[in-house]
Symmetry: C2
Subunit: 393 residues, 2 copies
C-alpha cells in the first residue's frame, strides 16, 4: 500500500526512567502507557549482536547479560526509543510500535478456560449453513484460497476440502498443502471401513459418539484428516462438535464441574494390537498455566480408570463428566455433513470432536484417515499471511 501515515502507537511522547534505572515508563500518542524492565529490554534487544540479522535467533544467553543491568539513559528519537544499558554501555534502539505490541504491563482479568482472539466458538445455529470449505485444486494453486482454508482451521477447528481424487492415499495431498503427516502404529494413513471382526470400534457400522482421536497418545495428534473414497451407504454422515464451545457451556452452567475436569488428569489407554500398549495421563479439559483453554480430550472407548481424582471429589467429577458428555451429544452443538467420494475434512484434534452416524450394511463406506500436526499448519498460515502483508506494503 505504501502508506506510511503515522499511527498513534508509532510515536512515543514520554520516557521516564524509574527504580534507579531498573524500569522505564513509556507513553504513546493516543494515551497508551506501559512500563518495562531494563533486563527484559536488554534480553530482547533487536540489534545484530543480540539477534541474528538472518533468522532472528538470539545470539546471547541470559548469562551473557550482567545481572545488575540498568538503563543509564533513554531518548525518544523519531519513531524509536534509544536506550543505553549500563554497565555494558550498550546502545539499543526499539521501535515504538514494537514496544507497544510487546508490552506486558497490563491488567488481565480472565477466567480459567479463556481463549484468544484467533478462536471463534460455534454451534449448530452459527455453523451448519456456513461450513468452511475449499476445493483442493484451487487451494493448491491460489495462496489466498489456502490462507482462508487454513485460517478456518485456526479459527473454527475444522474445514471441509472438496475435489480430491477418490483414491487411496489422496488424503496425504491435503497434509502436503501445509505440513507433515504424523506416522503412527496405524501407518501413515489408515482405513476406516466396515470390517468383520473389528479390532477397533471405528471399523463397524454402528454410530460413534463424538470424540477426539487417540487421547492415549502423548503427544496427541493435533490434526486429523478424514477423506472419502466411497460412501454409498444409507446414513454414515460425519458430524463435528466444537469442544471449546462445549467447555464454555459447561463452565457457564457448572463452574465447579469445569474446574474438576480441568484440574485432574484422566487416563487413556489402547492395547488393541500386538506390540502396541499406548497410555497417557492428561485432563479432559486442558488449560495452560495462565488458564488458557488448550486441549480437549474425550473418548469413552479409550478412557481408562480414573485414578487421579481424590475420593472426596470423585462423585462430583463423574457428574461433571456426565454433563460434559450430555452437552457433547446435544443436537444444538452438532454440525453434520455427508462426505461424498473425493471429499475430506480436517479437524483440530485438540478442540473439535468428530462423530459418525450409524449406517446400513448395503452399499459401501470407505474412508481413510491420517494425522498431522498444528505446528506446520499454523506456521504455513503465518508465512502466507506475512507474505501477503509484505506484498501489500
Amino acid at each position: 500500500m505504501g502508506c506510511n501515515a503515522r499511527t498513534p502507537i508509532s510515536m512515543l511522547t514520554h520516557a521516564l526512567i524509574g527504580d534507579e534505572g531498573r524500569t522505564i515508563e513509556l507513553s504513546w500518542e493516543g494515551g497508551a502507557r506501559a512500563r518495562f524492565h531494563a533486563m527484559w529490554l536488554r534480553d530482547n534487544a533487536l540489534d545484530d549482536k543480540t539477534r541474528s540479522a538472518g533468522n532472528g535467533q538470539r545470539l546471547i544467553t541470559i548469562l551473557d547479560i550482567p545481572a545488575d543491568t540498568r538503563i543509564g539513559s533513554a531518548m525518544i528519537k523519531g519513531e524509536t526509543l534509544e536506550v543505553t544499558f549500563v554497565p555494558e554501555g550498550k546502545i539499543v534502539s526499539f521501535p515504538a510500535e514494537w514496544l507497544v505490541v510487546h508490552a506486558y504491563d497490563r491488567q488481565e482479568d480472565r477466567q480459567p478456560g479463556w481463549t484468544g482472539n484467533d478462536i471463534r466458538r460455534w454451534t449448530k445455529a452459527t455453523m451448519q449453513n456456513s461450513v468452511p470449505r475449499a476445493d483442493y485444486t484451487e487451494a493448491s494453486r491460489d495462496g489466498n484460497v489456502l490462507r482462508q482454508w487454513l485460517g478456518a482451521v485456526q479459527t473454527y477447528g475444522f474445514a471441509v476440502m472438496d475435489g480430491l481424487p477418490a483414491e487411496p492415499g489422496a488424503l496425504c495431498k491435503v497434509a502436503d498443502l501445509f505440513g507433515y503427516i504424523r506416522e503412527t502404529n496405524y501407518g501413515r494413513w489408515f482405513e476406516v471401513r466396515a470390517e468383520v471382526n473389528p479390532n477397533n470400534l471405528a471399523y463397524t457400522n454402528l454410530g460413534l459418539q463424538a470424540h477426539t482421536d487417540n487421547p492415549y497418545r502423548d503427544p496427541v495428534p493435533t490434526l486429523q484428516i478424514l477423506a472419502c473414497i466411497e460412501n454409498t451407504v444409507e446414513g454414515g454422515e460425519s458430524s463435528v462438535v466444537d469442544g471449546f464451545a462445549i467447555a464454555a457451556a459447561l463452565r457457564e452452567e457448572d463452574p465447579e464441574g469445569f474446574r474438576l475436569l480441568s484440574t485432574h488428569p484422566a487416563r487413556f489407554e489402547y492395547a488393541g494390537s500386538s506390540g502396541v500398549r499406548l497410555q497417557s495421563k492428561r485432563p479432559m479439559i486442558e488449560l495452560g498455566p495462565d488458564g488458557e483453554l488448550i486441549c480437549i480430550r474425550f473418548n469413552n472407548r479409550s478412557l481408562a480408570p480414573t485414578v487421579d481424582v481424590p475420593f472426596a471429589d470423585m462423585d462430583a467429577y463423574y457428574k461433571a463428566y456426565r454433563r460434559f458428555a450430555e452437552l457433547i451429544e446435544a443436537p444444538s452443538f452438532e454440525v453434520t455433513f455427508k462426505l461424498e467420494a473425493g471429499q475430506s475434512f480436517i479437524v483440530d484434534n485438540t478442540r473439535v470432536m468428530h462423530a459418525r452416524k450409524a449406517f446400513s450394511g448395503s452399499g459401501k463406506r470407505w474412508l481413510q484417515g491420517c494425522y498431522a500436526d498444528k505446528d506446520g499448519l499454523l506456521s504455513t498460515l503465518a508465512a502466507i499471511e506475512h507474505q501477503f502483508k509484505e506484498a501489500a506494503e
Copy 2:
C-alpha cells in the same frame, strides 16, 4: 514361573456398602483399605458387554449408565468381588488385585514438580560413568537389550547407541526400533555440520548452550536422535543435562522461582527459512494439572519476548530464569561424551537438554538429527515388558 501363591492383595476380607449403595469400602488381607464409588465401578466394569474382549475398548458411554446407579449387593467370592448394580440389575466381577491396583482413595501430599517412579534424576556424579548404551545390532535382535535401552530412555531421558553404519540416514534405524520419525520442515532428518552463512545456530563451530530442541513447535518433538557420520575435529563433544534434576534443584533453593517459571507461559518462535513461521506459548517448566513435572523447554536462541508475566512479577521471573540457566550450565549436572562415527544418542526432548562443545575448524564434524515421539517408544517398551511377563508366567 507358574507360581500362583496368593499375594495379600489378591484376597479381600471385607466389603461394606455405604451411602445407600453409592460407595463401597473394601479391605484386603495385609491391611490395605480403599473406598470406591458405585458409578466408578460400573463405568470401569470388565465384562464383555462393557469392554471389548478383543481390545479392551469400552463399548458403552457414560450416558448408557443410569445416573442413579448404586450397588445393590456385593459379595467376596474367592479372589474377586462380585457386585450387583441397580437399577440395571447387572452383576460384575472385579478381581481383588485389579481393585487395589486401581484404588484412588488415598492421601497424597506431593509438592508441585513431583515425578513418578519411572523417573530417576541424575547428575554428573551419578551418571558420567554409567551412561546407558546398547549396540544397534544387539538391540535389533535381542528384545531384552532393546527393553533395557528403551527403559533407560524412560528412566533417565537419554541413552547412547553404538554400531550404526556411519552413513546418511542411518539414524532412522534407531527410530525404527521403537516408533516413527516426526517429519518437520527440517525434513525426515537434517544435517548438523559447520556451514558458511548458517541459517540456524546449530550449524556453526561455536559451542551451543544446553537446550531442548524446537520449543517453538507445539506439539514439541518429544524425542531427538543425533547420529555421527564423522567427527574428526578437536572438541565437539556432546553433553546432556537432566532438566528434571535442574528443576528439582531450582525448586529446592528457590521455590518461588520454580513457581514463577512453571505458572507463566514463555513464548518461542522461529522464522529462519522462507515459508516457516513457527510460534508457541508454553512454560519453561510445565506441570500437569496435578503438579507432575511433564516438560522442560529451554532455548535462549528461540525464546521470544516474554509477554505473559505480569509487570509486578517480571523482575523475579527473570531472576528465576537466570538461576535456571546457571544451574543448567553448572558442570556438576553435565554428562559429556564424544560421538564417534557410527555412534548416536537419543534424548527425551521434554526432559534432557543437550549441548555441544566448541570445536576447531580442522577435521570434520558431521552429525545428522531427527525427531520422533515418546508415545511409540513407551508403547513398544510396555509391549515388550508385557510379553516378557506373559512368557515368565
